[in-house]
């Protein structure tokens, strides 16, 4: 393991995924990958198209359980068979597709699967709208369209609904799959601020992105994947952007790559 060198204190990772394997019809989408994530840390997961990033995090979010391998939370082995089980463990996911039900409003989406109920066993829509307004005040104060189906919202507004859903339920681990891909500069800055804030609250964040600049801005460590395998995990301050690019493209670690090859990237 390349990432074991957390300094001095023996901390237990919030999440550890060991030797995860996922195959789709004979293709090893994820082939024996081991990564970990500490509380209050942002780990960037990078790699080209088809590197297996999304498949790896689907194993953690419960969307597609792994064929083999082990997942530990705070040192204890857990099984995650579906999204409900992941959420019960405090693992929240913001999907690249956002995974919103287009035909219902922001509050209904935020509480989807975890609705607030009244004493009489009916949906407490007012309480859910109230909670949504409060979360939105923090995440996106301009958000006003609480009664509209999310289909009628802009990209940024939809993104805030997806983020609100993930952060409202006291997540321990937050998986963000390309969180800024659909956003403009102002909205991206907003997400950046949010990540910093969530990090300071002790949440572990797994950030998937193919934008190397994003990852360098936000991540503490960077795990690089190539064709289903983990190339390596490095600390941000130990590497340059070029070196990470080399890992992404050539699948080689720092000490394996020559200056000539690095120069060839440009």
């Amino acid at each position: 393991m390349t990432s074991a060198a957390e300094p001095a204190v023996e901390r237990v990772p919030r999440v550890e995924m060991r030797d995860i394997r996922v195959a789709y019809g004979g293709v090893h989408a994820v082939d024996g990958v081991t990564i970990d994530l500490y509380p209050g840390e942002v780990v960037g997961l990078v790699g080209g198209n088809g590197a297996g990033k999304s498949t790896l995090v689907k194993a953690l979010s419960g969307a597609h359980p792994p064929d083999s391998g082990q997942i530990l939370m705070d040192g204890r082995p857990v099984t995650i068979g579906n999204p409900r089980e992941a959420k019960a463990l405090g693992i929240e996911t913001i999907y690249q597709t956002l995974a919103l039900a287009e035909n219902v409003d922001a509050a209904a989406n935020m509480f989807l699967g975890r609705e607030l109920m009244t004493r009489f066993g009916s949906l407490d829509d007012s309480a859910m709208e109230d909670a949504t307004r409060k979360v939105m005040k923090r995440l996106n104060p301009k958000f006003k369209r609480f009664k509209s189906p999310v289909a009628y919202l802009s990209g940024g507004q939809r993104q805030s609904v997806a983020i609100a859903r993930a952060v409202h339920f006291n997540a321990h681990v937050l998986i963000m799959d390309e969180p800024t891909a659909a956003l403009g500069p102002a909205e991206t800055a907003q997400v950046t601020d949010l990540i910093a804030q969530l990090k300071s609250e002790g949440i572990g964040i797994l950030l998937i992105s193919h934008d190397i600049h994003d990852v360098f801005d936000l991540a503490d460590r960077i795990s690089v994947m190539l064709t289903g395998k983990l190339v390596g995990t490095v600390k941000k301050q130990d590497v340059s952007m070029d070196e990470v690019l080399a890992m992404i493209i050539m699948g080689k670690l720092l000490n394996e790559v020559t200056q000539k090859e690095l120069a060839g990237l440009h």
Binding site: P83, A99, V104, L112, E129
Partner: protein
């Protein structure tokens, strides 16, 4: 969608509608927060009624005709409320007509042949056992089809197309195609008729309770909004909604109470109760028919299920985005199975009403009614693409369909032409709805 959001990102207020032109009307409608299409449906109904009234030389808008219309609408309305949930979940149920036939024959056999040797004819328990058996059988058949759709993964269109054939065949096989009659005398009251109605006083009491209910809903809505500090609807809007709702309810009760028992029945009633036959005849107000009351009750319960329960919320979420629903932690398969089961229960209730009204069951009962049920749901604003639909809309849709049919019968339109008109109206209604929705997006 993309256009609207780029031109006015955060500026559009709640409710969203912000277009030029018919702004004043729009803003009034928006203030009520009622679905614009529901109002359109009401308008269509009024136009249909007035047109037929004029064309039939004033016989359409009479208590007698409207009362009959309400009874004729009941079975389709009951089933349409369930069809809304099935269609919203991106499925379809083509089997409801055949299932109605099968359940009808089954519950007729129970009360005409199975129960009498055991507990005797006209036992007070008979109607309850028959109705309960019908509902249970419906739940079972619906759940069975739902299981194949949700857990085996066969498309609902195919599963219920199979059901359409199988249940109809089973209905025939159950009694070799022979008609089963007569029904238990208490059971018959489920079907309506003069005796199967609640009468004048109970009708007014129900009307009064309904008005109180409307008032309570409006007050509760305001209280909830105030409690959480959400924007309140203008007082005049709430007051107007209350008045309009109450007028419609009390008007309907008045119409039902203006329809009197047929003279033959009234004479018999007078003779049975030792009342001397008065000079002008005995006028006994009929009141709301039992099946209509049943349909209203079903519509209220189904509205609560669709809008106030987790199950309903999940059905809509699945219709909006099945993948998101699954990722959100919803047990989508179980939810879809339940939607089909609810549909089956409603078919069971409708089968009881149909057999009671006919006082017999034939294996052909309910033939083609799946089409009327689906049409009612769709005319009522349910999108076949899933995710969109309302229960009150489906009930209104059923009323529109039935009004068209009864009206054409009343003015003597030939049967083939009736079908042509109904078919055209169905397609036109959906076309209008599609255009409206596209403009909204």
């Amino acid at each position: 969608m993309a256009e609207a959001s780029t031109t006015a990102p955060d500026l559009v207020g709640e409710g969203g509608a912000r277009e030029g032109g018919t702004r004043s009307l729009r803003s009034v409608v928006t203030a009520t927060e009622i679905d614009f299409r529901l109002i359109g449906l009401f308008a269509a109904l009024v136009i249909i009624w007035v047109t037929f009234h004029v064309m039939s030389d004033g016989t359409f808008l009479t208590p007698r005709n409207l009362w009959n219309l309400s009874v004729q609408t009941a079975t389709v309305a009951i089933m349409a409320t369930g069809m809304v949930l099935v269609i919203v979940s991106r499925n379809i149920d083509l089997s409801v007509g055949s299932m109605l036939g099968l359940i009808g024959v089954a519950i007729a056999l129970i009360q005409a042949e199975i129960l009498p040797p055991i507990i005797g004819f006209d036992n007070p328990l008979t109607w309850m056992i028959a109705l309960g058996a019908g509902v249970a059988l419906g739940a079972f058949l619906g759940a069975f089809q739902g299981f194949i759709v949700a857990y085996v993964g066969v498309p609902a269109f195919l599963v219920t197309l199979g059901g359409l054939l199988v249940w109809r065949g089973a209905a025939w096989a159950l009694n070799s195609g022979q008609t089963v009659a007569p029904m238990d005398s208490t059971f018959q009251l489920l079907g309506g008729g003069a005796r199967g109605s609640v009468g004048e006083i109970v009708s007014w009491i129900i009307g009064g309770l309904a008005c109180l209910g409307i008032l309570a809903l409006l007050i509760n809505n305001r209280r909830q909004r105030r409690k959480f500090g959400f924007p309140l609807r203008p007082t005049w809007v709430d007051a107007g909604l209350g008045v309009i709702g109450s007028v419609v309810v009390l008007g309907a009760i008045w119409v039902a109470n203006s329809y009197f028992w047929p003279e033959g029945l009234a004479r018999q009633y007078a003779a049975d109760n030792g009342i001397e036959w008065p000079v002008g005849g005995l006028q006994i107000p009929t009141g709301i028919a039992n099946p209509v009351l049943l349909a209203i009750g079903v519509a209220i319960v189904m509205t609560l299920i669709a809008t106030r329960r987790r199950f309903g919320r999940y059905v809509f979420a699945i219709g909006g985005n099945p993948e998101a629903a699954e990722l959100g932690g919803i047990n989508t398969r179980w939810t879809i199975l339940k939607a089909f089961m609810v549909m089956g229960v409603l078919v069971g209730i409708a089968a009881a009403v149909s057999t009671a009204r006919l006082n017999a069951a034939t294996s052909g009962l309910g033939t083609l009614s799946e089409l009327y049920v689906i049409a009612a749901a769709v005319i009522g604003g349910t999108s076949l693409a899933g995710g969109i639909g309302t229960i009150p809309g489906a009930v209104l849709g059923a009323l529109v369909m039935q009004s068209l049919q009864s009206g054409m019968v009343l003015i003597g339109v030939d049967a083939p032409l009736q079908d042509i008109v109904v078919g055209i109206v169905l397609v036109a209604a959906v076309a209008l709805d599609t255009i409206y929705r596209r403009r909204l997006a």
